[in-house]
């Protein structure tokens, strides 16, 4: 049960990841699949952010000096860390995963835009965004002779 408390974030993130992946694989609708893909990517970001959390921490934006409570908390949570100079007794969360996931979110929205643009063209070319319809129409195409120039 202790494991559930300390690793709750990871378990939820895994479930969210799999929900996204399930949508991508199971849905026949191209738009729905893109939503699933976006969910999958967002959740991968949540995983990184969970890794970078530090108990009692605050956002990695330097402040002049922490309040008395913050300093006390810092000393309690991580004495070696708090003793270091330059921090003025404030615990910061790890900025590296934040920077990485900012990049990953951008990649996600880029993928979403391109994917939906292709889906729109599929609707225009095939008249449907259902995988099953497109497969049938593609198969018809494959049996026809190639168009001549």
């Amino acid at each position: 049960m202790n494991f559930l408390a300390t690793h709750f974030n990871y378990i939820v993130v895994v479930i969210l990841l799999m929900a996204g992946l399930f949508l991508v694989f199971s849905s026949g609708n191209l738009i729905k699949r893109m939503i699933g893909l976006a969910m999958f990517q967002t959740s991968a970001g949540l995983f990184y952010i969970s890794l970078g959390k530090v108990s009692g921490g605050t956002a990695a934006i330097a402040v002049e000096r922490g309040s008395a409570e913050a300093q006390a908390l810092a000393a309690q949570v991580d004495p070696a860390y708090a003793a270091q100079r330059g921090f003025e007794g404030v615990i910061y969360s790890n900025p590296l995963p934040h920077a990485l996931i900012l990049t990953a979110i951008v990649v996600g929205v880029a993928t979403l835009a391109v994917g939906l643009a292709i889906a729109v063209r599929i609707r225009e070319a095939f008249g449907s965004v259902e995988t099953s319809d497109i497969e049938v129409l593609s198969r018809v195409e494959a049996t026809q002779p190639g168009p001549q120039a």
Binding site: N9, I15, I35, G45, Y92, A99, V114
Partner: protein
């Protein structure tokens, strides 16, 4: 007053509540058959995860997630279902079994593997102790900006951000290639009587658009002090332009910013970013080494009091470099988001047949 035991537990409680909300919303997205509902739920999903990110001390990421997930993604998705006329998906129960098995097994493996991960919030975990802590210790002396996420993003890992800008640019090219060409029937002026209903909208939009643009600039130039930066600012700026297009019609907006100009601005942004790196190279440093951005003779002429604090090392190059690349990011992101919006908004289903005949 109710006093909580310690702030750690309060944030842990929030963490758990928000994650459960995420689970519920994710379940609803998987269950719903209506695409419109799925899109709105996905927008809510992004919003909740943005709140969760704030609890996890990641305001920069939260900001991005909010503007992207709940903002641009929703607009693009709504545009897509409008163009595909796909309002509900057709369910097919036979196709659910294999994906469910795959996802269950992969998920099981992941959870099993996650048991070996360090506890949440452990300050001594490898992830937080090695490079992550080095950034915390060295940002003040290396870069000299308060926001360490910006320092990592723009300076320590500046090449990643150049790649990110290139990705956005590529997405703009992709959407423009797919949807940006061909006839645009929706450019016809809107019916006159429509305007009577939207007078409130137009008045409010006139007030809001400059405010939003101003806010974007604030986010842009505040990025190295607090949460924010070029990407968030770019999305907000594009939202101002999109609002203009929604209220006053795409025709008006395209007259002000033609699609070709938008695409050019996007590539200009990447060029500015790369240009900053190349200037550093010409001045004798490595690519993106902002300390070499100014030749020594120029740097000597900058008076030290401009930043207001003589005690700290000035880091002129770092400040100017971050400013420069963030402007590049702003231009690319704004222009690309506008290009994407043009692509989706400037198309109707009828265009397809005309284009197919060409």
């Amino acid at each position: 007053m109710i006093t909580l035991p310690a702030s750690i537990n309060a944030s842990l409680m929030l963490d758990i509540v928000l994650l459960v909300m995420l689970l519920v919303v994710a379940g609803a997205i998987v269950r719903t058959r209506s695409l419109l509902a799925a899109i709105i739920l996905f927008s809510i999903y992004s919003l909740i995860s943005a709140v969760w990110l704030v609890v996890m001390d990641a305001p920069d990421v939260a900001f991005t997630e909010a503007v992207v997930g709940a903002g641009i993604s929703t607009i693009v998705l709504l545009g897509a279902i409008l163009l595909t006329r796909g309002e509900t998906e057709k369910p097919d129960w036979r196709k659910l079994i294999a994906p469910a098995l795959i996802c269950a097994s992969v998920g099981g493996l992941l959870i099993y593997a996650a048991m070996g991960l360090p506890e949440l919030g452990d300050p001594a975990s490898p992830a937080n102790a090695h490079v992550g802590r080095a950034y915390l210790q060295r940002t003040a002396s290396d870069i000299g900006v308060p926001n360490m996420v910006t320092a990592v993003l723009a300076s320590y890992r500046g090449l990643d951000t150049l790649g990110e800008t290139a990705v956005i640019f590529a997405a703009g090219i992709g959407v423009a290639l797919m949807l940006g060409f061909g006839p645009r029937s929706s450019l016809a002026p809107p019916p006159a009587q429509l305007g009577d209903h939207h007078v409130t909208l137009r008045v409010a939009a006139k007030m809001l658009i400059p405010l939003i643009a101003l806010f974007a600039l604030y986010v842009q130039f505040h990025g190295d002090l607090g949460a924010g930066g070029g990407f968030q600012a770019g999305v907000i700026m594009s939202v101002a332009i999109i609002l203009h297009a929604l209220v006053f019609g795409l025709r008006e907006t395209m007259a002000a910013i033609p699609p070709r100009v938008a695409r050019s601005i996007a590539s200009l942004g990447v060029l500015i970013y790369a240009g900053v790196g190349i200037v550093c190279m010409i001045n004798g440093g490595a690519f993106l080494d902002y300390d070499y951005l100014f030749p020594p003779e120029i740097e000597a002429q900058i008076p030290g009091w401009i930043l207001g604090d003589d005690a700290h090392a000035p880091h002129w190059g770092q400040h100017a470099g971050i400013l420069g690349i963030e402007i590049g990011v702003l231009l690319t992101v704004t222009a690309t988001m506008v290009t994407v919006f043009y692509g989706f908004a400037g198309r109707t289903v009828d265009d397809a047949r005309r284009e197919a005949r060409r």
